[in-house]
Amino acid sequence: MSAAHRVTAGFLPLLDSALLVAAREKRFAEAEGIDLVLVRENSWASIRDRLAVGHFEAAHMLAPMPIAFNLGLAPLAARTIAPMALGLGGNAVTVADELWREMADYGARPDLDPASGGRALDGIVSRRAAEGGAPLRFAVVHPHSGHNYELRYWLAASDIDPDRDIEIVIVPPPLMPDALAAGRIDGYCVGEPWNTAAAFNGAGRIATTKSRIWRSSPEKVLGVSADWAESSPVALDGLLRALYRAAQWCGDAANHEELAGILAQPGYVGCPAEWLMPALSGRIRTGNGPVVEVSDFFMPHARAATFPWKSHALWFYTQMVRWGQVEPGPDRETVARETYRPDLYRRALRSLGVALPGANAKVEGALTTQTPVGSAGASLVLGPDGFFDGKIFDPDRVADYLRS
């Protein structure tokens, strides 16, 4: 089929660019009449700028980014919507080997357990403060990122004040392992394969994972220029269907070797294919420690992994407020809620006859096991989606959550 619509999308060299890459390489885009051109970028700032001036129609984005754009927290951002998520999970927290040994002395379990790891860090932070030592320094990829919020959530729930007790700096994802090896940082939270890279080269130890801090949690979305979405509904729908097919393909274990091979190419993630397999298979090599089975480490498709839940958008908004990035207000809450567009997701996918959630939002942290839910089309299973500290986020009670 000759492509009727050309769509140019930017991405960063990360495992969860997989859906976009597979949509092109496995010709799901072509089957929808989309000539999907992928452009690799080196910073989220460039993704933002090039979307703003119309070089890109869509992009691989940190899930809070479009919300930050629409709230006016970023320079030069265009009005951006998120009509689809690009999977759940996919991150981990890696610490320097030396810090891990100290954490183990303080009782951190070797199986990626966030509660014991957090308590151990708290002990180390207190001791350092008492001794007058330099605070620990952790890195994340961007202030408006799942990495920043989940790292802070984990630390805060472990009685560590991320603003006062430690230092958080920004480092680009591919530079994290080097920064750790050089001792410029003590740990970091980043998407794959940049945790596994440090585990393989011996500089770092994976301490816990995003999926252990908050199961089935949002990470990247497809950010789309709102103007383009309005003027090109046919192309947008085709793109979303292609990405849905790509997610199905990426979620099938039989395709993981092939997917790792494609992503390993220099034009995509550009790393050894073996660095990509742990996240895809869920067998996490922690570094100087055991291989730990984390079956839901990265979910490209199952558990409605591409559905843009408004409750995810609202949780990100609460974290922006919590960490002083934005003043709370009902109008801002509305901006966050309206950035995620499950209505467009449903419009595009209805013709596929696939399982679609019936609701636009859900109570986050309420599902302790896999749960069949009401859906249009085939049956759908959600969860588990719990936070490690057992807290619950009800998107209808944002103000209460902010006070808690």
Binding site: N42, S43, D49, I170, P172
Partner: protein, 200 residues
């Protein structure tokens, strides 16, 4: 001018391009221009020099790092915003097309900053053009070498004159709708295989 000179910081890992921009700014009368090639010391450099304008290439992976520094008041004394003016969309587009981005201290007058941004844009474009021309010249030289070698093979194996060998290459390229250098490359590869050598 009675106003103090604007302090400009150029961040670019590409030293040649940084030098091209620096030259342009100095020619335009800006005396306070500093270059940074390595991000590791950039926070201190910003704190020490207190630049009014920061120019950085769009491909630089450290742009997110830089922007986060501007958000932390501890790192920089004065707030820094992106570009001259959000409303000046033509400038912004021209900058991003050229592959350059700029950050400006808040409150600086547009007419003072715009010439700097325009200079950076035109120098970035000039640099890209120069790099493209160099690449084209290199490709041209390489394809001439390939054609020379292919002609030699044809003259030796089929007893053709140089002119006949070239005409045959050219005709084949036209018939197959390919570049003459590609035909030459195929012929060289095939000849290597037939000779049983290891050279591909």
């Amino acid at each position: 001018m009675d106003r103090p000179a604007l302090r400009i910081l150029i961040i670019d890992e590409n030293r040649l391009r940084a030098a091209v921009i620096e030259d342009g700014l100095r020619e335009a009368g800006h005396s306070e221009v500093a270059l940074v090639h390595d991000m590791s010391g950039v926070a201190r450099q910003i704190a020490d020099t207190e630049p009014d304008v920061i120019v950085i290439d769009l491909e630089n992976p450290n742009r997110d790092v830089l922007e986060s520094m501007f958000q932390l008041t501890r790192a920089v004394k004065r707030p820094i915003a992106m570009f001259v003016d959000r409303s000046d969309s033509a400038s912004i587009e021209a900058a991003i097309d050229a592959g350059v981005s700029a950050y400006v201290v808040d409150g600086l007058r547009k007419d003072r900053v715009k010439p700097i941004l325009d200079m950076a844009i035109s120098r970035f474009n000039a640099y890209s053009r120069m790099a493209r021309e160099l690449e084209e010249a290199r490709t041209e030289l390489e394809s001439r070498r390939l054609v020379e070698r292919a002609k030699g093979i044809l003259m030796k194996s089929r007893g053709l004159s140089e002119q006949e060998a070239y005409a045959l290459l050219r005709r084949t390229a036209m018939n197959q709708n390919r570049k003459i250098a590609e035909i030459a490359q195929s012929l060289i590869t095939a000849a290597g295989l037939l000779e049983g050598g290891d050279e591909a």
